[in-house]
Subunit: 318 residues, 2 copies
């Protein structure tokens, strides 16, 4: 994008993937395109538009390739997708997406339940995907992230040892990921744990190899955990418009952090996101019109911005 | 209390005052007594049970003196009340409450709207109250806090200069308060501002003269702001069971932070509150039974505690 504003924090919108996979209704492709277009126009720099999984498992995301094709026409937008395995990664590479994220559940029980593969099998997939990406001409290689899901605890296994998270972060990097991410799939994380785990992962794989975190708001701790991540210096935060989504395979877990409330917090703190809040709030209308009866969360859009509020992103233009 | 657990953070329950004043329904005194008894039994160390305001203004709190009398029978419980002026303080002193909090709106417009007094008039009330307390025999003097409301911004005035907050903190101490508190009446606060303002107030009046903060969740920032306050070293946090309440005089402002989600966060972070989470969750049944149709907020009670979760308060007993 020309005239792109400077950014302190990259807010990665995961609603079209994590949100839509968690609900029964199937959003029409035209509405998805309108959502992605409007979010990008509001300044959202990265959108995870879908997941390359078989349509019989997640029919809600069956049109991911078409949506990637549309998103790639938007100048400056980073187009991300989820891939559960090598086969999904082949489709993702064919689609031309800029970024592939493969989830690896630190809880092996969750991994078997969610993707029917144990850790060794998942790491095999990672190695195959890394080889595929390496075989592409330089300049056409997507960024490849391994996301450590259930990193803060599991609804099936309970406490997840931090040492296990660190070991798998190292294993993902050795298997060929460009980067790892931390994911609180179950909404178990607390701010002290977020700080500890970031520190441990950084020690093990290097600071540049962990820049992002995916947090849920299942127990109302989402933005509190973001504050902890920001304190450590993390600069990429996932969020979902209207708080849509969560993990459908983890019983009791629901609720991504709300993009609107996150962006308000960051901008109020003086951290530039490049996102226009009013334009972002307006995106809700597209989503709610396309998902009748589906509840949208988020308190800032309802309460309105504080009187006299000037976002950090606006300040830099004044 | 004998065998009282050690505490790292004091959670001050304001629901019976801030919650009940904000809703139309009047909770019967018997239910209020049951609420206070159950909360104290769950380990809540301090409860703001009411406000000494004329019954025609807040009929919901007309029985505050009776509730104070009941609360004083509970061993170890700190019994706090709000007083809007000298007359209210006289009633509070007569009731025997342990702690009096007088709100001073940093926004003078809000002060005039809320309590029909400007800053000079409010500080006169403070001086009279301080003299009254000083006239009591040592050992019978309640703790006297001046609470800086609208400290983070005002729905009527907009941005509230931080220098103004600091000046009024100094003025409150000079007028005879034992301590000042910071209050985000309007839900405008962000974590960076929370840290800045605590630092400024500490510099102006001394660290021991500001220990507590009252935060709202109007824009979903409540617990994020708590993390900032904890990072600075604040040790007293107000909260309301079920998130009941907010400020009825500030248009658009609603939603205290939820005691249940706050206590979960603190205990998960390893900070002892002395509060038993399951017993706290059970208090909701008393409140919802006495307030039919009134929504209760809070995500942790609905999602449940994480599998294998051991609260910090429990750990110390193991």
């Amino acid at each position: 994008m020309t005239n792109a504003p400077k950014r302190d924090v990259l807010v990665s919108e995961v609603g079209p993937r994590d949100g839509l996979q968690s609900i029964q209704a199937i959003m029409p492709l035209a509405a998805k395109k309108a959502w992605v277009t409007a979010a990008a126009a509001a300044g959202v720099p990265e959108i995870e538009v879908g997941s390359f999984v078989p349509a019989h498992i997640l029919p809600q995301l069956a049109d991911t390739a078409e949506l990637v094709a549309h998103a790639l026409t938007i100048a400056g937008l980073s187009v991300a997708v989820l891939v559960p395995n090598f086969k999904g990664a082949q489709a993702a590479v064919a689609s031309g997406a800029h970024k592939l994220t493969l989830p690896l559940s630190v809880s092996e029980t969750h991994s078997l339940r969610n993707l029917r593969r144990n850790h060794a099998q998942m790491l095999d997939e990672v190695r195959q995907i890394a080889a595929l990406i390496k075989s592409l001409p330089a300049g056409q290689r997507p960024h490849f992230e391994g996301s450590l899901s259930t990193a803060f605890g599991c609804t099936l296994e309970g406490v997840v040892p931090e040492q296990r998270v660190v070991e798998l972060a190292v294993a993902l990097m050795e298997a060929g990921c460009d980067e790892v991410g931390l994911s609180d799939t179950t909404g178990y994380a607390n701010p002290a744990q977020v700080k500890r785990l970031i520190k441990s992962i950084w020690s093990a794989v290097g600071r540049d190899q962990l820049s992002g975190i995916h947090l849920h708001n299942t127990r109302g701790q989402g933005l509190a955990n973001v504050v902890a991540a920001l304190d450590m210096g993390l600069t990429t935060i996932d969020a979902s418009l209207g708080g849509l989504g969560g993990c459908p395979f983890a019983p009791g877990a629901s609720g991504n952090i709300v993009t609107e409330d996150l962006v308000f917090m960051l901008e109020a703190m003086g951290l530039r996101t490049g996102i226009d809040l009013d334009a972002l709030f307006a995106v809700r209308e597209i989503v709610s019109a396309a998902l009748p009866g589906e509840p949208l969360y988020g308190m800032t859009p309802l309460a309105g911005l504080p009187l006299g509020f000037v976002p950090a992103t606006t300040k830099q233009h004044q």
